[in-house]
Symmetry: C2
């Protein structure tokens, strides 16, 4: 039986609130009441409202990086590897669209120090995709003029989905991820 600590309940409440209303429009009282606690309880378990965002954002970035690096290591064949990377990246954003929205859209609300720390993970995500595309071009599997631009475009498919995707909606995250993977393959095909 898993123990859900008060700290974790507050984090889960913060994820819901930040994803729904944005960081700036969320009050600490809102977070506390979603967690079924008094406003002061937030500060028993967390340093500040921004540190709640930092915790959620850092954890989300780590997961996203893990997902795409894992997919990058899943195959040596450029096309199959790209398919796996895009599918799992988009799938993660669909399955975790609330965290994804915070990761992507509340990045600027982090303190400068925390933003710098998270920026390192963001650059690694982008670099992982660029490396996969470059390798595919060198091995003749891809025909790409602008590797950085294409890397951004391919990642955009997954990232932009958190703007409108609703879990439990009409769209299945799995089908959407498959579509994105096929589109990415078509974009890069030699």
């Amino acid at each position: 039986m898993t123990v859900v600590t008060a700290r974790e309940r507050l984090l889960a409440a913060a994820v819901e609130a930040f994803a729904e209303k944005g960081f700036a429009a969320t009050t600490t009282r809102d977070i506390a009441s979603r967690a079924g606690m008094s406003p002061a309880a937030v500060y028993v378990h967390h340093d500040s409202k921004e540190s709640l965002l930092y915790t959620v954002s850092l954890d989300g970035h780590r997961h996203a990086l893990e997902i795409i690096e894992g997919a990058a290591a899943s195959s040596d064949e450029p096309v199959e590897r790209l398919r796996a990377m895009v599918r799992s990246f988009s799938r993660w954003h669909a399955d975790n669209s609330r965290v994804g929205r915070i990761v992507q859209y509340e990045y600027h609300a982090l303190s400068p120090e925390h933003r710098a720390e998270v920026a390192v993970l963001r650059r690694r995500i982008e670099q992982t995709m660029r490396d996969a595309l470059t390798d595919g071009v060198e091995r003749g599997a891809f025909a790409i003029d602008d590797v950085p631009g294409t890397a951004f475009a391919v990642l955009s498919l997954g990232i932009d989905l958190v703007r409108w995707f609703e879990p439990g909606g009409s769209q299945s995250g799995e089908r959407l991820a498959d579509l994105h993977a096929e589109l990415a393959v078509k974009m890069t095909r030699a």
Copy 2:
């Protein structure tokens, strides 16, 4: 010689502030000081902070719709038409990235009434793209399994660029738009 009214200066200041910090994190005092006026001046020329957002957002949505509908009417040939639509849509977002950021990311901050009004324009943008793809499929120019999903994906290229694009940065909006147009053609090619 163009006359820049106080009302317009306040709108321009609001665009800068909303794009930089988000609607909720922007204060009316910030908008006023960017326009070189006192805090009360905002309310001489506009009803509320939300009505500033509404004005900017509605105008931005109208422009974006105009751009994509214009491109859709520019050619009858499916591939050339898609190229024109994606190029001009992405180009508009690059050239107007601050307004574009407000259009795309502050949509939820509108009042329910204003959001509903703007939603009509959003749906027309999406429908214009779906129509162009459907027509291309029917005429054998495109091979697309999931037209709505592909329409979203193609529009995502332009939309997601406002998240990171900086005017005057290393990337040229024109080149980026050309890249997106070519990627869209590859995504849909029969």
